[in-house]
C-alpha cells in the first residue's frame, strides 16, 4: 500500500495540492502578499532575488523558483513579475518548461501598478484554486515519493535517537523504490572517505569528495578559525569526540543505502534511491533547496526545538528527546525520545513510517498548522 496523492500530468504525485503565487523578483513581494490576503487558499513564494545579482546567483535563483513550481505538491502557479527585472516571468516560464500544470503570469508594470495587479492576480488565483480543487487524491505507489532529510538545533541525543530513526525510514523508502535526499554539505565535513566508500560509482565518489572539500575550503575562507567550530565545545561536552563522529550522527539520517548521485542546490535528482544534494546546512536555505529539488515531504530532526516549515513541502518535526516533545508539542510531530526511554528503533521506525504515510495522504504537520512557511534562496555572491 502506498499513499493517497494528487496525480500530476508528468506522472508525479503531490502530497499537497497547492496553488503557488510566486514573485519573480523581490519588488513583486507586496503584490504577492496582497493576492494572498484576497485569496487565502494560495501559498506565497516571496524572496529577495530577481535582480542585482551576478550570474552564478541568478542561475541558482532561477533553478530554485522553477523547481518549486515543478514540485509535485504544486497544482498550479501564478508568477508575479515587475517588468524591468532580470528574472522576468518569461525567463522563469522558459526555465519551468513543459510541466503539464497551469502556469499563469502577470506583470505589475503592464497591469498599471500594484492595486490593479493585485486585483487581476487575485482573479487569476481564484480560477486556479477552483481548477486545482477538481483534482482528487488517488492511491499512489511509494516510488512516487521523495523525502528530504534535515536536522537543525541538534542536541546530544539527535545522533542517538532521532537521526538513526530517520535512517530507518530512509532505508524503508529506498526499499520501496522511492527517493531520499540527504544534504547539509557543511555537516558532511569529516566524512569524505566514508561517503566516497558508500558511493554507487567512482564518479559519484569523486564528486562527493570534491563537494565536501570545496565546502570545507569555503567555510575556512569565510569563517577563519571559526570554521573549526563545526564541532563546538558544547558538542564535546555532549559526548561527541571529533568532527567525523558528529558528522556521522547527521549522515545516519540517510540510512545505509548506496549514494547513487550528487546533485547541485535545488537540482532535481531524477532518480530513485539515496541522493546527496550540495546545499548548506543552514535550515531555511536547505529546506528551500530540497523542496525545489522535488522533495514532497521533509523530515527534520531537532533536539533544541525549531518551528521551521516550508510553503511547498510538509515538514515533519522529530524531537530527539521526550522533554522537548512535551515542551514544544505544538511544533513537534514525532517523539524519537521514546527510543532513549526504552522503545526499540524498529518500533519507533514503524511509527514514523506510518506518520509519513498519513502526512502524504493529507494529515497536516505541526509546521503546516502553524503556517511556518519559510523560504530563502541561497546566494554566494555580492549584490549590485
Amino acid at each position: 500500500m502506498g499513499f493517497l496523492g494528487y496525480p500530476r500530468a508528468d506522472g508525479s504525485a503531490g502530497v499537497r495540492n497547492h496553488v503557488a503565487v510566486v514573485s519573480t523578483v523581490v519588488c513583486a513581494n507586496g503584490v504577492v502578499d496582497a493576492i494572498a490576503r484576497a485569496v487565502p487558499e494560495v501559498k506565497t513564494i516571496t524572496h529577495t532575488e530577481g535582480c542585482g545579482r551576478g550570474p552564478a546567483d541568478v542561475i541558482v535563483a532561477v533553478r530554485t523558483l522553477a523547481g518549486v513550481v515543478r514540485n509535485p505538491n504544486v497544482a498550479a502557479v501564478l508568477l508575479v513579475g515587475l517588468g524591468c527585472e532580470f528574472i522576468t516571468r518569461e525567463v522563469l516560464v522558459s526555465a519551468i518548461g513543459a510541466c503539464g500544470k497551469p502556469v499563469e503570469t502577470i506583470s505589475i508594470q503592464e497591469e498599471g501598478g500594484s492595486l490593479k495587479a493585485a486585483r487581476r492576480g487575485a482573479e487569476i488565483a481564484r480560477g486556479l484554486v477552483a481548477q486545482a480543487a477538481a483534482v482528487a487524491r488517488q492511491e499512489c505507489g511509494w516510488e512516487k515519493l521523495t523525502l528530504g532529510l534535515k536536522c537543525g538545533g541538534s542536541d546530544a541525543l539527535s545522533g542517538v535517537t532521532a537521526n538513526p530513526l530517520v535512517g530507518v525510514a530512509a532505508d524503508w523508502l529506498v526499499g520501496q523504490g522511492g527517493g531520499v535526499i540527504l544534504s547539509e554539505t557543511t555537516e558532511l565535513i569529516g566524512t569524505e572517505t566514508v561517503l566516497a566508500r558508500r558511493a554507487a560509482n567512482p564518479a559519484t565518489a569523486q564528486r562527493l569528495t570534491a563537494m565536501i572539500r570545496d565546502q570545507h575550503a569555503r567555510a575556512k575562507a569565510a569563517l577563519g578559525s571559526l570554521a573549526e567550530m563545526v564541532i563546538s565545545p558544547g558538542n564535546m561536552d555532549g559526548g561527541l569526540s571529533n568532527i567525523r563522529e558528529k558528522a556521522l550522527g547527521g549522515v545516519v539520517k540517510g540510512g545505509s543505502s548506496p549514494i547513487c548521485k550528487v546533485v547541485d542546490y535545488a537540482e532535481p535528482p531524477r532518480t530513485a534511491g539515496l541522493v546527496v544534494m550540495d546545499a548548506p546546512g543552514s535550515d531555511i536555505f536547505c529546506l528551500t533547496a530540497m523542496a525545489a529539488g522535488g522533495a514532497q515531504i521533509i523530515v527534520f530532526t531537532t533536539g533544541r526545538g525549531t518551528p521551521a516549515g516550508s510553503p511547498i513541502a510538509p515538514v515533519v518535526k522529530i524531537a530527539s528527546n521526550s522533554r522537548l516533545f512535551a515542551q514544544m508539542k505544538d511544533d513537534m510531530d514525532v517523539n524519537a525520545g521514546r527510543i532513549a526511554d526504552g522503545a526499540t528503533l524498529a518500533d519507533a521506525g514503524r511509527e514514523l513510517i506510518d506518520f509519513v504515510q498519513r502526512v502524504a495522504s493529507g494529515e497536516p504537520t505541526k509546521a503546516e498548522r502553524n503556517r511556518n512557511d519559510l523560504f530563502a534562496i541561497h546566494t554566494t555572491g555580492p549584490s549590485f
Partner: protein
C-alpha cells in the same frame, strides 16, 4: 534493570549512555551488560569490548577514531583516549 545505553549499529564497539551511569553501575544495552569502570556522563560513549591501543573505535558502523591507549569494556570513551581518524 532496563536499557540505559544504546548501540546504534551492530558493528559498534561503543554504546551511548542515555543518562549518566555511575562508576560500578551496570551499562545495559539490548544485548549486553558490562559494569561501568568509571562514571559515564549522559550521551557519552562507553566501550563494550576491549580495544587495544591503535584499535578502531566504531560507532554508526564506521571508524570514528583510534584508541590512544588500551580501553577496557565499561570505560568511558572520549577525547582523552580517542584519536581522530584523519581523512
Amino acid at each position: 534493570m532496563g536499557r540505559n545505553a544504546i548501540v546504534i549499529h551492530p558493528l559498534d564497539n561503543v554504546a551511548v549512555a542515555v543518562a549518566a551511569i555511575p562508576r560500578g553501575g551496570d551499562v545495559v544495552t539490548d544485548d549486553a551488560s558490562v559494569p561501568a569502570l568509571e562514571e559515564i556522563p549522559a550521551s557519552h560513549k562507553v566501550a563494550l569490548a576491549a580495544i587495544e591501543p591503535g584499535g578502531r573505535v566504531v560507532r554508526y558502523g564506521e571508524t570514528i577514531g583510534r584508541a590512544a591507549v588500551a580501553i577496557a569494556p565499561g570505560q568511558w570513551v572520549h577525547t582523552h583516549n580517542l584519536l581522530p581518524e584523519e581523512d
